[in-house]
Symmetry: C2
Subunit: 174 residues, 2 copies
């Protein structure tokens, strides 16, 4: 506890907890990730449970969530039947995964909903013209256009081979 590296690890756990919480994951996911990220060796459920002072069940659930999002991976340690985990250190890979699995889906869903409403409005306008329906059509079109652009933006980010190089290359004039 008075070990300076221990203090640093705790600092990162706190910071990562903040970050995951902000991005809509559980705080404990971040704390676990922070712990693993600064551990030279992979850790077991029990070790993590102890480090964070939370129940083993809680670690189990959160470590599986981290695994689901490819933020940590299980590694096999010869001669031990416990499961060991280590942090995925390729952040771009993690970001791309989250964009693909979560953000992209959300945009697609939004696009779908608004598209349906727009078609419904146009249908309504055909049978019974009204200023109200015309107004709705105009606004929904604008919204659809916006979501489409955001959707494309996410799509581009998702497929870039190296976000860093590519994105910052592009912001400079040739």
């Amino acid at each position: 506890m008075n070990n300076p590296v221990e203090e640093i690890r705790e600092g990162l756990m706190e910071a990562m907890g903040r970050i995951t919480s902000f991005w809509g994951f559980s705080r404990i996911m971040g704390q676990l990730y922070g712990l693993l990220y600064l551990s030279p060796n992979p850790l077991t459920l029990d070790e993590m449970s102890e480090s964070l002072a939370i129940s083993k069940g809680n670690v189990s659930i959160n470590i599986r969530a981290l695994e689901r999002w490819s933020m940590v991976k299980a590694v096999w340690v010869k001669g031990d039947r416990k499961d060991y985990y280590e942090a995925e250190t390729d952040f771009w890979k993690i970001v791309k995964g989250v964009l693909r699995e979560r953000e992209k889906k959300e945009f697609d869903l939004a696009l779908d909903s608004v598209g349906k409403l727009l078609r419904k409005s146009v249908e309504t306008q055909k049978t019974a013209k009204s200023a109200e329906a015309a107004f709705a059509i105009e606004r929904l079109k604008k919204l659809e256009d916006f979501i489409q652009t955001m959707d494309k933006l996410v799509g581009v980010l998702m497929t870039l081979e190296d976000i860093k190089r590519n994105l910052f290359g592009l912001t400079k004039k040739k």
Copy 2:
């Protein structure tokens, strides 16, 4: 209720509720926004309270949050002492505001935390060399670099005059 435009409005309220909830705002903020976005006239607290079937106090709190984020604006209606609200329809403006007020701050904070931890690690390493500290330094540097890049990316998006035109201009070859 059987009015088709009414149905469309309800559809958008639902969709916008989903969206704001996903992005870490309250669901009701989205529903209010959806309602206002498809209303040809600005609406009062009581009208919104009625449309969403929620208490006036709840509308009051959520409409002020929307105002804070520049998603709606209050308009003055001559001869009426009630407050009227209408939707801000410039989505790029809203996105930029949120990036500036919320996302940017979060990145800066993360950068700050990690920077501090990194400096502390280097300090530790000076007085008492250890493989553990060296490992921490290496990993923290990598993390700092990543956050810095994301931070810059947000900064670029934030200041672009027209995100749509600029970003998609850049993804095409010349």
